[in-house]
């Protein structure tokens, strides 16, 4: 799943909703008694309730399976083969490695020594591929496998003060 897939899903759902909305708006001049409309709405409600809730329950299982939490990632991606410690501060990143292997499972241990930061990895095309928060006093473990070699950029995605937007670092995947 990429941002492009998400955008397409969003646009399709929005288009369906807009079509329904237009149907309602265009129906306004053709008056029907309220009792009939209410009855039809209640029928529709009964018919939609079960499939909608069932679909959400099924999707919920998938959501957790594909979630980025270490307990799931160890199953979906694999056990970490390389560990990188990441510390953050206003306004910079300290990584104990600047080159990471491609096709290997990497574990980032991310923390902060002052305020909250957001550890976000952007690929060479400028697309966000993974993230976790950097919180003082806690270590967030982000497990990720790089399938593409290249230069990656770390951006801060949790607002941390006036130089937040220049809190950058880079590393190479080779």
């Amino acid at each position: 799943m990429t941002q492009k897939d998400i955008l397409i899903l969003f646009l399709v759902l929005s288009a369906i909703w807009t079509a329904i909305w237009f149907k309602v708006i265009l129906s306004i001049p053709n008056i029907q008694p309220e009792e009939e409309v209410t009855k039809n709405a209640n029928t529709l409600r009964r018919r939609l309730a079960f499939p909608m809730i069932a679909a959400l329950v099924i999707l919920l299982t998938a959501v957790f399976y594909w979630s980025p939490y270490p307990i799931f990632r160890e199953h979906t991606i694999g056990k970490p083969e390389v560990t990188v410690n990441v510390n953050s501060f206003q306004w910079g990143w300290i990584l104990d490695a600047d080159t990471l292997p491609v096709h290997k499972v990497v574990e980032f241990n991310v923390t902060s020594r002052d305020v909250n930061h957001g550890f976000a990895i952007y690929n060479s095309e400028g697309r966000l591929v993974a993230q976790t928060q950097a919180m003082p006093g806690y270590v967030n473990k982000l497990i990720f496998k790089f399938d593409e070699p290249g230069e990656y950029t770390i951006r801060c995605l949790e607002y941390c003060g006036v130089s937040h937007h220049v809190m950058l670092a880079t590393f190479t995947v080779d």
Binding site: E34, A41, A49, L56, Q90, G126, G161
Partner: protein, 494 residues
């Protein structure tokens, strides 16, 4: 008075002062909203590279814009519900003025924190940043939290009073929450059916009270830290409670705004206005559905107990079937083949339902944990909540304000103003779509400086922002004709 008043004993000598309070709440919110909108335009001009401002000032403006919008729209929505409640519930002018004064104290506190203290820590003021801002003092951070306190206490005064007033009228909380309607059988005696506005008011007041308690639970330790009584506050604890407070106060605003729709739709469609079982269920669910999703703000804090992420995910997705099947379907059935009379408020209501679901789709997608991994803190997030606010809350609330002034003054709207209302929707939709596309392109939110390749998005958004301003000015030009007369008609002596 116009000939389409909402049923009820409106505009008697007793309740006129309350209507004036309602107007003051709504107009205060409206004026602040307009100013904050201009600040929003400045930020998008900066992103387009057309009016570059220093990061220091960008983030100050961003802080003002966020805090000002959230607080002003809540206040305006409260004004609307006060006006509707006033028809059937005895409200106290003293309580409502007290809430207004305390709430309004947030304005000088916020201005002091940002303009004098240089605070630019964002409206969420996420601990530990306010006390470790590097470019502002700890006292400026404290002042930001005092701003929170003023909004919280002002809102609490309103909530406690409204909770008590509605409870008294109904003869108990269960009756006020329409539990007799929900659990009644056909063989039962006629259940007690509260007015929809009363039900909405007590449900949102309960949310408000819990929200403010959440706020107090984080503000007290943060003030203790500032006073040197504790070394620091656990940042995971404070983040959870700041998000509970901030998310709920923003989210409850849309539900209060929807309550105004329940009051307005019968005027234009001659339908609805009854607390049916579905309406009763919707408002009872609302209490849970506003208060349980805030953990979704911490999906990317992997140290957070997994159980809380599960609660956030399940709660966030429970909103979709509940709101769609109960609230949206219910309200669309009031509009569908109803012969609804088109006027500025009814146009705004129609737009509001479109925008609310539009924003809801974006929010539901983002609240899926794997999607959130790719969207969190990108511009997708402001896209979602701006859709809620701009095309949900503001259309409902300004639609109601327009109705109220027209109804109080008897000054009818100009036919052409409906064009302005449609224009507001089109401009808003364009502005929001650009935000969604920007988020899908991984552009971070809360960035003072955008990369050159990102400028185009904001450049496309700016004309849409200008169009929303033009359409609003057009609506104001019509609304203002009845303002003086509406004001006079809310005088206690007449």
């Amino acid at each position: 008075m116009s000939d389409h008043s909402i049923d009820g004993p409106a505009y008697g000598s007793e309740n006129r002062p309350i209507l004036r309070i309602a107007l003051v709440y709504m107009l205060t919110g409206f004026v602040i909203f307009l100013i904050m909108g201009i600040l929003g335009l400045i930020m998008r001009l900066d992103h387009a590279g057309w009016w570059v401002i220093s990061p220091n000032w960008f983030y100050r403006i961003m802080t003002l814009h966020g805090a000002g919008m959230v607080a002003s729209l809540l206040m305006a929505a409260l004004g609307g519900i006060i006006a509707i409640l006033n028809r059937t519930v005895k409200l106290s002018a003293r309580w409502l003025w007290s809430a207004y004064v305390v709430y309004s104290l947030s304005v000088p506190f916020l201005l002091y924190a940002v303009l004098i203290g240089g605070f630019s820590g964002g409206w969420t003021a996420l601990d530990p940043l306010p006390y470790h801002g590097m470019t502002w003092s700890k006292s400026a951070g404290v002042m930001m939290y005092v701003t929170f306190l003023a909004v919280g206490v002002g809102f609490l005064i309103y909530c406690v009073h409204v909770f008590d007033a509605v409870r008294r009228k109904a003869g108990g909380v269960r009756r006020a929450l329409a539990w007799e309607v929900i659990f009644s059988r056909k063989s039962d005696a006629q259940p007690y059916e509260p007015e929809v506005a009363e039900l909405a008011a007590i449900a949102t007041a309960i949310i408000g009270i819990v929200t403010v308690i959440g706020g107090v639970l984080v503000l007290v330790p943060l003030f203790a830290e500032a006073a040197g009584l504790v070394k620091s506050v656990n940042p995971l604890y404070s983040k959870n409670f700041i998000m509970l407070f901030g998310h709920s106060i923003a989210n409850v605003t849309i539900y209060i705004a929807v309550a105004l729709v329940y009051g307005l739709l019968p005027v234009y469609t001659k339908r609805g206005g009854h607390t049916t079982k579905f309406v009763a269920l919707a408002w009872n669910f609302t209490i849970i559905l506003v208060l349980t999703p805030p953990p979704h703000h911490l999906y990317q804090d992997f140290a957070q107990p997994l159980g809380l992420a599960i609660i956030g995910q399940v709660a966030s997705w429970s909103i979709a079937p509940s709101v769609l099947l109960l609230t949206i379907l219910g309200n669309l059935s009031y509009i569908y083949r109803s012969g609804m009379r088109w006027a500025v408020p009814s146009v705004m209501i129609a737009l509001g339902f479109w925008g609310w679901v539009f924003g809801g789709i974006g929010g539901t997608i983002d609240s899926a944990i794997p999607a959130n991994q790719l969207l969190h803190n990108t511009l997708w997030v402001p896209a979602h909540f701006h859709a809620y606010y701009l095309l949900g809350v503001t259309t409902f609330v300004w639609g109601y304000l327009f109705y109220l002034i027209s109804d109080l003054s008897g000054v009818r709207e100009k036919a052409s103003t409906k064009i302005a209302a449609w224009l507001y929707g089109i401009a808003g939709a364009g502005f929001l779509l650009v935000f969604f596309f920007s988020g899908a392109d991984s552009i971070p939110r809360r960035y003072a400086v955008h990369l050159p390749e990102w400028n185009l998005y904001a450049a496309i958004a700016v004309p849409f922002v200008l169009l929303t301003i033009v359409s609003l000015l057009w609506i104001i030009a019509d609304m203002i004709r009845g303002l003086r007369s509406a004001w006079r008609n809310t005088s206690a002596v007449k």
